[in-house]
């Protein structure tokens, strides 16, 4: 069995535990990504012919496209060897048990969970089959409640089977075509797992849809695809839960997220990413927003060795709105190159981007953003604010925004500031009895508050805790 099949099994909920041993014995490494591999993935998932065709076309495009290595200041991707990719993403047989058994998780990850204390459910889910069951129940309850309203929420592989027509129309056709970039093409070829959310017209899902538990049951979706369709006048908040369950020994993550915000609909997509420090995180996320629709991205990027991620929104209809709130934290050896892209393609569209970054211990953060205002997008406005906080002199913080303005009746503003943590602020807090560590943590907590206040409380707490943990090393 090829390595790809192994990866496939990994993401297949039903068979994961059952066939584990057989996979192990049948395991055989094979380098490179081939047409045969794709066919095996598709066949095993019992996919319709059109999906196989799309995968194969994406594979062709993947081979044709260049690496994104000619951007000024782009992270070093030289370790991402195209021919080695599949073996890299293939879980090592010794550590892949980590997702099944809490005790097999790398110590660093276990430690983090212990310190986090929350969320307990996730820890339980990771610690064995029983918890897995438990998470299924949570998932099922949610689904029943929404099903009455016609809301669909399931994993992407299932969606291909059960909601084929919708998937066929939207899947990597309009928002993120494989031709978008090399890693979107890679994703198109070997995607697996992920979430499918469909909200019918005039429907408000009044509590966040969380992919949190389901991601566990799906296992290690390193190429997961998320497709969210919010029909007219609908509203939904999707949270890709703490990404800690995606902690792994894998070296590459290349997910795809497509969001369709129809007229007057409202979608919020929130995520807190905390990949292991050896992961190359190269995602493509894009929303298409129709008239009077609102798209909101809230994201925290904590982990990974290198991240290149620029969630983008196409404001296609008049009156459409986009809000981005992002935070990046780069510690030792990390290069977090992230930002936001917004295309104002219709009149009276609005966007705001608020980006915060923290770098310490030699980490690098970069805000790389693009605001494009097309000819005819009159009375549009955009505001971009970037703030960077640096802890020490080994760290780097860059800001590289681009503004392309083809319309005169617009209001465009960009602002960025960089500063070190204020000695006076620390002194002030110390003089009131806080020790140095606590003072700095409090300043950081205040710095990222605009992000945390957009998240449900448990995620906000978790984000704060993650940052505290990141800071512990140098502050202790």
């Amino acid at each position: 069995m090829s390595s790809d099949q192994d990866h496939l099994k990994e993401t297949d909920t039903e068979k994961r535990f059952e066939f584990k041993k057989e996979e192990k014995s049948a395991f055989e490494a094979e380098k490179g990504l081939t047409e045969e591999t794709i066919r095996v993935i598709s066949e095993d998932k019992d996919e319709p012919q059109w999906m196989l065709d799309r995968r194969l076309r994406a594979l062709e495009q993947y081979h044709e496209m260049p690496m994104p290595d000619d951007w000024p200041g782009a992270p070093d991707l030289s370790a991402v060897d195209v021919d080695e990719i599949v073996p890299y993403i293939r879980p090592d047989i010794e550590t892949r048990g980590g997702v099944d058994d809490w005790n097999d998780l790398p110590e660093e990850i276990r430690d983090t969970f212990d310190k986090l204390g929350i969320p307990e459910a996730e820890k339980n889910a990771l610690s064995g089959v029983g918890a897995q069951y438990e998470s299924e129940i949570v998932y099922q309850n949610m689904q029943e409640r929404w099903e009455e309203k016609g809301v669909i929420f399931c994993d992407m592989d299932k969606a291909v089977q059960e909601h084929e027509e919708i998937v066929k129309e939207y899947f990597m056709t309009k928002a993120v075509p494989p031709s978008d970039n090399k890693f979107a093409a890679l994703h198109g070829a070997i995607w697996s797992g992920g979430s499918f959310v469909y909200v019918p017209e005039d429907t408000t899902v009044d509590m966040p849809v969380q992919a949190y538990f389901r991601m566990n049951s799906d296992g290690m979706g390193q190429f997961e695809h998320t497709l969210i369709i919010a029909e007219e006048n609908s509203e939904v908040h999707y949270i890709e839960g703490c990404s800690a369950p995606k902690y792994s020994e894998f070296n590459l993550h290349s997910g795809g997220v497509e969001v369709f915000v129809k007229e007057n609909a409202h979608v919020q997509y929130s995520t807190v990413q905390n990949w292991s420090k050896n992961t190359y995180n190269l995602n493509t996320k894009r929303a298409i927003c129709e008239a009077d629709g609102t798209m909101e991205w809230v994201s925290g990027s904590m982990g990974s060795k290198a991240t290149m991620l620029y969630p983008s929104t196409v404001l296609k209809g008049p009156g459409a709105t986009d809000n981005h709130i992002t935070i990046a934290f780069a510690g030792e050896g990390q290069d977090i190159d992230t930002g936001a892209k917004v295309y104002h393609n219709a009149p009276e569209t609005k966007s705001t981007i608020e980006s915060k970054s923290i770098s310490k211990d030699g980490g690098r953060t970069n805000y790389r953003g693009l605001v494009h205002i097309a000819d005819g997008a009159e009375d549009s406005s955009t505001s971009v604010e970037c703030d960077a906080l640096m802890f020490d002199n080994d760290s780097t913080s860059d800001t590289m925004p681009y503004m392309e303005i083809q319309e005169s009746k617009v209001d465009v503003a960009h602002e960025a500031t960089v500063g070190k943590i204020g000695d006076e602020d620390v002194f002030y807090l110390q003089s009131r009895g806080l020790d140095d560590d606590d003072a700095k943590q409090m300043i950081v907590a205040g710095f990222i508050e605009p992000i945390t206040e957009e998240l449900p409380i448990e995620y906000a707490v978790e984000l704060n805790r993650l940052i505290e943990l990141e800071m512990e090393g140098s502050l202790g």
Binding site: T399, V412, H414
Partner: protein, 404 residues
């Protein structure tokens, strides 16, 4: 496919120019090396947004534009007391060693194709030498280009504790030349300790001119290098104004103003490197675009690891008067030392409707009101221009354009 000039340019032509200027052997060699390098050099970096290059320097027909041996200009040089403002021939004669020491030390003669071309072919230009301790005000250079192409090279050497303000005007004169022209200007400024150089340029070339300029200064300890970059004329301008803050407590200010109309294209770069302690930089640019004009602006504040206690600020504002105009802005911060206070901001917008309403409601006709607001838009930049004459000239050109 464009043709590039090195296909027809010969070493003999380069030697001829050098002989005309009565140059020493080392300078001829520098020229010939630049000429030899043309084959392997790339066009200057232009501002790119992901997936797009905004200024296509390859598309110009250099072979037709550049006429190496036909150069004609009028040059006025007004010097100030104690300072030498010299043509290249005079300067090489009087300060040969000084020029040999500094020529090409700030702007690499082979940094890119167009700079190397300028090094190989320059015939016009000026050397400004400010001896130690001399305060020189209002050095004026006026270059009037009367040929198809003109390559201008300016070297400024300001010794310890000296100061100088230089105002350079660039224009095209009445001549028999029809159609497109090419102007290339290189300015390099060297400073001693505690020296002060302010270099202002007012570019008002004909709108059939292609204009390539690179200006770069090295600021020594306690030194200041300030640039004023006014761009009004030309069909296409690609300009890069740069300061390296190499000495502790050095400073630089780059003030830019541009006003594009018709189908003018401005590719404007401002760049500062903080490489020492306690350095300060301030980048301010304001531009107005009308008709189908477009601007691409990139400002970079690069703070090195050794640049403790840095202050670095950048502002760029563009006003769009026409719906066919396009503006791109990319203010970049690259920070490698955390002991830094840095910020940048950029805005793009149109004439404020409330301001218009306010003025028209007080009896000012809409056209006049708009003109006043546009003129007012430049005020924060004009305020930064210390040389009265440059400020007034720039303001005059803005008013002229508004009332055309």
């Amino acid at each position: 496919m464009s043709t590039q000039v090195h296909a027809t340019l010969t070493a003999e032509q380069v030697e001829q120019i050098s002989a005309d200027l009565d140059e020493p052997e080392w300078l001829l060699e520098t020229r010939l090396e630049a000429f030899e390098a043309l084959d392997s050099l790339a066009m200057p970096d232009v501002i790119r947004t992901p997936g797009r290059r905004w200024t296509n320097l390859d598309a110009l027909d250099y072979e037709t534009l550049v006429d190496p041996l036909e150069y004609a200009q009028d040059k006025d040089r007004i010097d100030a007391e104690g300072v030498d403002v010299l043509s290249w021939t005079e300067a090489l004669d009087e300060h040969g060693d000084l020029i040999e020491e500094h020529f090409g030390s700030v702007v690499d003669p082979q940094r890119d194709y167009l700079t190397a071309l300028s090094t190989a072919l320059f015939s016009a230009g000026t050397v400004v030498y400010v001896p130690e301790g001399v305060d020189a005000e209002d050095v004026k250079i006026r270059t009037t280009m009367n040929s198809r192409s003109l390559f201008n090279y300016t070297l400024v050497v300001a010794e310890d504790s000296s100061s100088v303000t230089i105002l350079e005007r660039q224009q095209t004169g009445d001549s028999d030349v029809d159609g497109e022209r090419y102007y290339s200007g290189v300015v390099e400024a060297v400073t001693g300790e505690n020296a002060y150089v302010q270099y202002g340029t007012l570019q008002n070339l004909s709108e059939e001119s292609y204009n390539y300029q690179v200006k770069r200064g090295h600021a020594n300890t306690y030194s200041t290098v300030n640039w004023i970059e006014g761009n009004i004329g030309s069909r296409l301008t690609k300009t890069s104004v740069e300061t390296r803050l190499l000495g502790d407590s050095s400073e630089s200010q780059i003030v830019g103003a541009f006003f594009g109309h018709n189908d003018q294209h401005f590719d404007i770069g401002s760049r500062v490197w903080h490489e020492a302690e306690h350095t300060v930089a301030d980048l301010v640019t304001r531009g107005v675009l009308d008709d189908e004009a477009r601007s691409v602006y990139e400002g970079v504040q690069d703070v090195g690891t050794e640049a403790w206690d840095t202050s670095s600020y950048q502002r760029e504002n563009t006003l769009m008067l026409s719906d066919e105009s396009e503006a791109d802005a990319s203010p970049k911060l690259i920070i490698n030392n955390h002991d830094t206070e840095a910020s940048h901001s950029a805005t793009v917008g149109q004439v404020d409707e409330e301001d218009m309403f306010y003025m028209t409601s007080r009896g000012v006709n809409p056209e006049a009101a708009k003109n006043m607001l546009v003129e007012g838009f430049f005020v924060p930049v004009l305020d930064e221009v210390e040389v009265d004459e440059l400020r007034e000239d720039l303001d005059d050109l803005i008013v002229q354009r508004l009332t055309q």
